[in-house]
Symmetry: C2
Subunit: 329 residues, 2 copies
């Protein structure tokens, strides 16, 4: 097993990546290919790796900001760290890519370099939302803002494979995000998708709203990328809004400060429940290779968690399972 | 001023409505028309109203569950409490309707009985979301699941009038809900709506995500009814999810229980911030009459708050202001 780690992905790169690579090499007993500007990496890695854990630098000659718009041919050629990561994956020198770089960029470069899995119409971004009793795979989160019903059906299929392989859920319950749980509710897209999902043989439980999603009633929640993205961003924003108010109010008086101190274990549980870094990495589902993208603000711990998750995906043959289901769809 | 209160709207009707009517009549010094089944209301009202505050029962001969599907002609004729409320408003016997009944039903019956304001293509449902530093008017919340760009422009116009008249914001900042704050982000609908909003003369601040919405950066947030509804339900569900975890964890040990007790003022502030009953009532924007719909689970306090808000809408001539802006649009 070799994990390919983008050394230039996170907001504070490359220090978190260097630390994470060394730690993961030790902990997982596998080789880490650390991809980035060798001049920036060599000395720092030597310092951080006195025991010589199996971390190897692969030089990426270009430094490219993901804010730059890349055209089609550039996406295939660019030799920044993300591009080199994808090439290493394609040539089989590594088994999985982990990056904390720009998600849209990873999708674009990954798609250009690795292509789609056979049968897949549109790759999707998915994340694990923390919900009652566990997690829910939500997709698409923004790779496809305008969708056709058949794309949503494929998201449901890929999300179900992901839930089965990675969350070990036998027959994942699939919900269709809508503006009402009753059948017949929805916009034109949802109404057209509903009967198609019923015909798939997936464990389709019907329309779901926020209540069912966060209540843990579905293992997979399907939406077009626009809706999924709005849902994701709103959920994160509400959580932050509530946490901010609570923090401020708890610090407001001596009494509440003492209360906060005593109640700390409860707040810690809440924080851990909502922490996206506990499970690091959003898979690019539907491209012909295993790529996981973490938050830009990932620290070393988040990156190690991301690599642990990526390693599980390799061991559980997530890609093979996706290929088996999607081929010919 | 006469407020028309649907006596049969809330989940626990008619007791909360009777209490609220008596309290509002006293507090606001205006007459309340309490609309419902006289047989169910007369004795209870007499008991609840020993001082004879100005509450008058208006009999609604039919009892109709809002779950029943109503056809076009039924919507115009039905003599359940909601239908009678709308007729009283139309004939000028009252100035504003307040109901805790089904929102979709109120919209359908209101539209059938009162019609649209001149120039309005599609009426919308809006709510005040609690955000940093105040509230944001979010619309549409589900009256129009599939929208054209020009509908969203009208939502922005109506939402701006609502924010100006009711929240006393001089030039309300209007945001377009999208999957990214940058211009150019969005699905086809958002991309088509963006330049139209720029051309309105409204205080359009561009695309917004959950972060900007809950960060209080917009006074009005515009979305199609499907997206707005998903946003609303997800926000409520995340708030409930977090509150539930926190409650359970705070009750988990003796230490956290004491902490919770001491920190109570902070939790109370959070609860008050998120409480939809503080401002009771969602206006049906764009129909030719003032109608406010509250939560089905409204208690007497929520209903009184709803009537207070409705009274302000009458006094501030919300309907006249909407008419002035929308005529000829």
């Amino acid at each position: 097993m070799r994990i390919i780690l983008d050394a230039m992905g996170s907001d504070n790169h490359p220090q978190p990546e260097i630390q994470a690579a060394v730690q993961a090499a030790k902990e997982f007993r596998c080789e880490i290919l650390l991809v980035g500007d060798e001049n920036q990496l060599a000395d720092k890695l030597a310092q951080a790796n006195p025991q010589n854990a199996a971390v190897r630098i692969v030089h990426a000659p270009e430094v490219f900001e993901m804010t730059t718009k890349l055209s089609g041919s550039m996406l295939r050629k660019v030799q920044n760290s993300m591009g080199v990561c994808m090439d290493l994956l394609k040539s089989g020198e590594g088994d999985v890519v982990v990056t904390a770089g720009n998600t849209g960029g990873a999708m674009a470069i990954g798609l250009a370099r690795l292509g789609r899995l056979k049968g897949v119409k549109r790759p999707a971004l998915s994340a694990l939302f923390p919900v009652r009793g566990g997690h829910c795979v939500v997709l698409d989160l923004g790779a496809n803002t305008d969708c056709r019903p058949e794309y949503l059906v494929q998201f449901a299929q890929m999300g179900s494979v992901y839930a089965r392989q990675m969350l070990k859920i036998d027959r994942p319950r699939v919900g269709l995000v809508s503006n009402g749980e009753e059948a017949g509710k929805g916009n034109d897209l949802v109404k057209a998708t509903y009967p198609l999902l019923q015909a798939t043989g997936l464990n389709f439980i019907g329309n779901i709203e926020g209540k069912e999603l966060f209540g843990g009633e579905a293992d997979v929640a399907v939406a077009d990328g626009f809706t999924g993205n709005v849902l994701l961003k709103a959920s994160e924003a509400v959580a932050k809004f509530m946490t901010d108010i609570l923090k401020e109010e708890l610090m407001a008086t001596a009494r509440t400060k003492v209360g906060a101190l005593l109640a700390k274990p409860a707040f810690d549980t809440l924080k851990r429940t909502l922490d996206p870094d506990e499970v690091g990495g959003v898979p690019l589902l539907g491209i012909n290779g295993l790529v996981f993208v973490g938050h830009g603000r990932s620290d070393a711990r988040a990156l190690v968690n991301g690599m642990r998750w990526a390693k599980q995906a390799v061991e559980g043959d997530l890609l093979g399972a996706l290929r088996a289901v999607m081929e010919g769809k």
